[in-house]
């Protein structure tokens, strides 16, 4: 019996597979001061399939944002493999990455800071199309309107300045922009943090709908376990740069063992206790 898959070969179905991912930073010292080495991420491993959501949870400093930045190659990992549909992007040069970037897009927290304030909605959304040189002006225009409709924004608003949109609407713009190149995977880095609860609910439902209609895979980064419990299929808990618990969402929450996971679960329990004590009409 031969094992046809060598350890380095990724299974064909996973949209994203990460293994052995590591990254450290040098602390900034001045002149003669010592420079500390900070290990941000160490030996991280997970995989995400089409139409599924993996949530990376942990508190600030756990390394989850660094993982997101490495996966989207905003930073280059020190070691490890990142297979995007079978192609290892971990150490590729930027010009080699170019053709692969459309498959993997990112949505950040606080859309306002990720957008050029002088752009109109249309300009924001079509930017990826321009960069990858897809289609002519009218084709782009059509696509922009299509995307705006998909994310729940009136297409007539295409020429409004991006700053005239509310926080939630800007987040929808960011999602539309991320969908422009028809990616297979979206990395959502605290994309729902800092929003009002009603806006968060609307955007979360939008993400669920988009995932169903486009079979999108999501890598969701968050510190909020309650949010993650409803959105994710699998959860990986990070602490000090490592994954400390990993499994299906319901299992990880129900059978929390690691102190970090327990702390996160405790936070949601507090909310539940208060609601129960109030006898909330839910």
């Amino acid at each position: 019996m031969t094992n046809s898959a060598s350890p380095m070969e990724p299974p064909a179905q996973a949209v994203l597979r990460v293994s052995g991912l590591s990254k450290s930073y040098r602390g900034k010292g001045v002149g003669w001061q010592r420079m500390d080495v900070i290990v941000a991420v160490s030996e991280v491993e997970f995989e995400i399939f089409a139409g599924q959501t993996l949530a990376l949870v942990g508190s600030s400093g756990s390394g989850k944002s660094t993982v997101a930045r490495c996966v989207t190659r905003l930073e280059k990992p020190d070691a490890g493999h990142i297979w995007l549909h079978g192609a290892d992007i971990a150490q590729l040069h930027s010009h080699e990455l170019r053709s692969l970037r459309p498959q993997l897009q990112m949505v950040f927290q606080d859309a306002a800071t990720s957008m050029n304030p002088s752009f109109t909605a249309a300009e924001v959304i079509e930017e990826p199309l321009l960069i990858q040189r897809r289609g002519d002006k009218s084709a782009r225009r059509t696509r922009v309107k299509e995307l705006m409709q998909e994310v729940g924004l009136p297409p007539e608003w295409a020429d409004r300045s991006a700053m005239d949109f509310s926080g939630g609407q800007r987040q929808r713009l960011a999602i539309a922009r991320a969908l422009a190149l028809k990616p297979k995977l979206l990395v959502l880095d605290e994309a729902l943090s800092g929003l009002d609860l009603s806006t968060e609910a609307q955007i979360a439902n939008l993400l669920l709908d988009l995932q169903a209609s486009h079979s999108l895979a999501y890598l969701l980064i968050s510190h909020d376990l309650a949010l993650v419990a409803r959105l994710a299929d699998t959860i990986a808990v990070m602490a000090n740069g490592r994954i400390v618990e990993h499994g299906s969402a319901s299992q990880v929450i129900a059978n929390a063992k690691h102190p970090e996971t327990l702390a996160l679960v405790a936070a949601t329990r507090v909310a539940q206790t208060h609601l129960a004590a109030m006898g909330a009409a839910l």
Binding site: G27, V30, G31, I38, A40, S60, G61, S62
Partner: protein, 321 residues
């Protein structure tokens, strides 16, 4: 420490470039002499040999480096003397002028900048801004000529030179006064040319910080406007001004060339102009190295100042993720 080493390397680089450039420039010191039929070609070649100008480039550079180590910085052909003392006596005059001008510029510029920022968008600020724009757009030469004309007409301030003819006969106090009176005009030109930029930088830095959330929070906690300004705003707003300060120090030797030539102030500027025109090789190179030194030291000082003023640079914190 790293910066200091880099600085020395930079100086080396500058000196090499200097040598190369002057080599490429047409003409040599003796060209005029050659045209003079009374001087024989042998005399010229003898002189050339004496000054080592007939040796290849590398050898000349080597000998020049030796001379640097010995503290001479090469030999001036025109003055028939080592370069270093020549440079130094002129440089002293330049520094007197530029340091005085710099102190005055910052003494006027910083308070005005802070004041107009505190009253920003009100009439005071608008006046200062308009005045600034005017000053910035007028080239230094025009300011120089304008003030010169004014000085000549009004006969209040001596024009030209650093000392009066009877300088030697004056008492020490009298000599001091004499120099100061001569200093007025060139310093005034320098101050007028430079103060506008200082005001702009200080004002911009302060205005930006005035809008910052922590200043509003301070107001919310009842901290008075004056205290806010001096204890909370200025330390943060100082950074761009400090960078500018460093640059000002850097240009202490080189920035006043035009003014010195225009007013006849016996500084480094006129000396170098002469030397360049006369192709007095080592004097020119020495002068450039000197200015480069100041530039580098100025930048180092600026960096050090920034270090002490902004704790974020000092403690080099990496943001928690």
């Amino acid at each position: 420490m790293r910066r200091a080493i880099r600085a020395v390397v930079l100086l080396f680089g500058v000196s090499v470039l200097c040598f190369l450039f002057t080599e490429m420039a047409p003409g040599s010191f003796f060209d005029e002499m050659r045209l003079n039929p009374q001087i024989s070609p042998e005399t010229i070649s003898g002189l050339r040999a004496r000054y080592g100008l007939d040796r290849p480039l590398l050898v000349r550079y080597g000998r020049w480096l030796m001379s640097v180590v010995q503290g001479d910085l090469g030999f001036s052909i025109a003055y028939n003397a080592p370069v270093a003392p020549l440079l130094w006596s002129r440089a002293r005059n330049t520094l007197l002028l530029t340091i005085t001008a710099m102190i005055l510029t910052w003494l006027i510029g910083v308070p005005l900048g802070v004041w107009s920022a505190a009253h920003h968008d009100r009439w005071l600020d608008r006046i200062v801004e308009t005045g600034n724009s005017l000053l910035i757009s007028i080239p230094e030469i025009v300011i120089a000529l304008g003030l010169l004309a004014l000085a000549v007409r009004s006969r209040t301030v001596p024009v030209g030179g650093m000392m009066s003819i009877d300088h030697e006969e004056l008492s020490t106090w009298g000599r001091l006064q004499d120099v100061l009176r001569h200093l007025l005009l060139p310093a005034a030109i320098l101050v007028l040319s430079g103060v506008a930029i200082v005001i702009r930088h200080v004002r911009a830095g302060v205005v930006e910080v005035l809008e910052a959330p922590y200043v509003r929070a301070g107001r919310g906690l009842g901290i008075g406007q004056t205290r806010l300004l001096f204890r909370h705003v200025l330390p943060v707003a100082a950074s761009p001004a400090i960078s500018l300060f460093g640059l000002s120090i850097a240009s202490l030797l080189s920035g006043s060339l035009l003014v010195e030539v225009a007013t006849g102030w016996p500084g480094l500027g006129p000396l170098l102009v002469e030397a360049t025109l006369a192709r007095d090789l080592y004097l020119v190179i020495g002068g450039i190295i000197f200015s480069a030194l100041f530039l580098i030291v100025g930048n180092l000082i600026a960096d050090l100042l920034l270090l002490t003023s902004d704790p974020r640079i000092r403690t080099g914190g990496l943001d928690a993720e």
